[in-house]
Amino acid sequence: MEAPTPHEVEVVHRTLTDHLPILQVIIPLLAAPLCVLLRERALVRGMAIGVAWTCLAISVTLLQHVMEHGVISYAVGGWDAPFGIEYRIDLLNAYILVVVSAIAAVVFPFGRGGEGLALNPARVHLFYAALLLCLCGLLGMAATGDAFNIFVFLEISSLASYSLIALGRGRRALRAAYSYLVMGTIGGTFFLIGIGLLYQTTGTLNIVDLHDRLQPVIGSRTVVVAFAFLVVGLGIKLALFPLHQWLPNAYTHAPAKISAFLAATATKVGFYVLLRVLFTIFGATFVFTTLRLHNLLLPMSLAAMFVGSLAAIAQTDIKRLLAYSSIAQIGYMTLGVSMGNVDGLAGGIVHLFNHAMMKGGLFLVVACVVLRTGSAKIDDMAGLGRKMPLTMAAFVVGGLSLIGVPATVGFVSKWYLVKGALERGWEPVALLILLSSLLAVIYVWRVLEVIYFRERPEGAKEVGEVDATMLIPTWILIGAAVFFGLRAELTSQVALDTARMLLGTGL
């Protein structure tokens, strides 16, 4: 045996705290098979909630650590980067980890479990196993610094979400899950091709290392092809117009709680990976100066904003309305990216966080409605303002935030987007942002009109307010949407710092 190297000595002396980056991925991963073994519904549910809160605690600790001491690099199994897999937590992923685990911590306890699932109650533990795997995948994507590892976690979370969506009531959930599976697999495979081509060119999979080694060959055809495959593959995952076709049906027919969870996290993590690919792997100069990505991303984003909003106006199903609105909101995020300046990018990043809160909250409201009335048709919500005042008030606040009314988070994101557009000299784009907000007024107002100004039809099912297990998670998310709207500096400062870091103009 050779004498231990200094490196190995360091591994021996690591404490539990040092393992936090991997722990929050490992814990849900191990908890999932444990669910299958335990089987007992209450136990499994409690464990899932416990795992979610543990992950939240870990991610908050990590974020604090990153804000104070800078980037954390963790070598899995003691194999140092670039040869081993590196978990690399900087400001951006720390932020995403907090968003994802916070949403999980709020959404998992929602309801008593098992409602709205097309599943034998004796098998609910499998649902939680899938849910934990999905969480594991999302956190893993955000935490890892290895491109191939991202693919693996991407597939873990995707496979879990296909099965979760298929658990929705009604056979259309099956078709939605199937479509998502096919499209998601194409997206994932595109991503894999992109990584393969990059590996072929550079011989590394570590994201930071990739960036350095790509610079000498950045203009080569292989790199450009890899870029196209990566962006389109991720575009499918984050439902960028016109690659969004899987999303409306998936969100509409999935169990309501799953819609809330996925809408608030899955596309957000996809967006995060897009940021990583664009800015950390390829670098802003290549993306915006050489390729001029904005020429394509800007029209796609604008189309997403308008098609999503217009389609939302025309829907008769509230879940589908929210799903189309999500497509529009994703358009805002990529619009921020396409601006390629600090304000725009910060607007996109802060909107990621804001949209997670408001859309998560709104889908939870819908989950309450579906549970009480058994229908997600907008017309069936007539007169609910009186019957479910607290739930519907949450919808009002969430809707206002979607529009971007001042004092809500929606306003903060739009502020930075408009600022970014003006800075870039894209006055018409700033105008279009405001115009699409007007469309949001229409689709939110349509629902509010039904809720408050239409009488509950004679003979309609008698309904009442939902219980605290649903109201509290809903109002936590909606309340956060107002809290962070009033204290905008809390989120926007992180977003601005992150944007500066990604664009390489600071930090």
Binding site: Y178, T189, L192
Partner: protein, 125 residues
């Protein structure tokens, strides 16, 4: 024609797979197409690992085996083990969904399923 023939093979296989996904209405055939598509990528990766004149990356008493100057790269093979697992899982889940769809709709032809869903929606609206 430039590039190695193996790349062209991978591309052709990929296109066949994607074409099947696009053109076939049968959900099981779509899964098969998806499989072809994934296999093409696996072949692309595996071919990357081959180094001309390279041998298996196993040390022979701490030295390269006689007559070899290089090792082949083992990493792509390792990566593809994971990708194959992902592919198997996807196929299994996809087929399971196809079975459930067959149970619920009585068919696995997508065009028929779309028509049934639209009729249902019109009935409700």
């Amino acid at each position: 024609m430039s590039g190695l023939p193996i790349y062209w093979m991978a591309i052709v296989l990929m296109m066949v797979g994607l074409y099947t996904v696009i053109a076939r209405d049968n959900l099981v055939k779509k899964i098969m197409g998806l499989n072809l598509f994934q296999v093409a990528v696996i072949m692309l990766y595996v071919s990357m690992g081959k180094v001309e004149e390279g041998t298996a990356p196993i040390l022979d008493h701490g030295h390269l085996p006689e007559g070899f100057q290089h090792f082949s790269n083992p990493l792509p093979h390792v990566l593809m083990l994971t990708a194959i697992v992902v592919g198997v899982a996807t196929t299994a889940l996809g087929l399971a969904l196809a079975v459930r769809i067959k149970e619920e709709y009585g068919t696995v032809e997508e065009d028929e399923i779309v028509l049934m869903d639209q009729a249902l929606e019109r009935g409700e609206g």
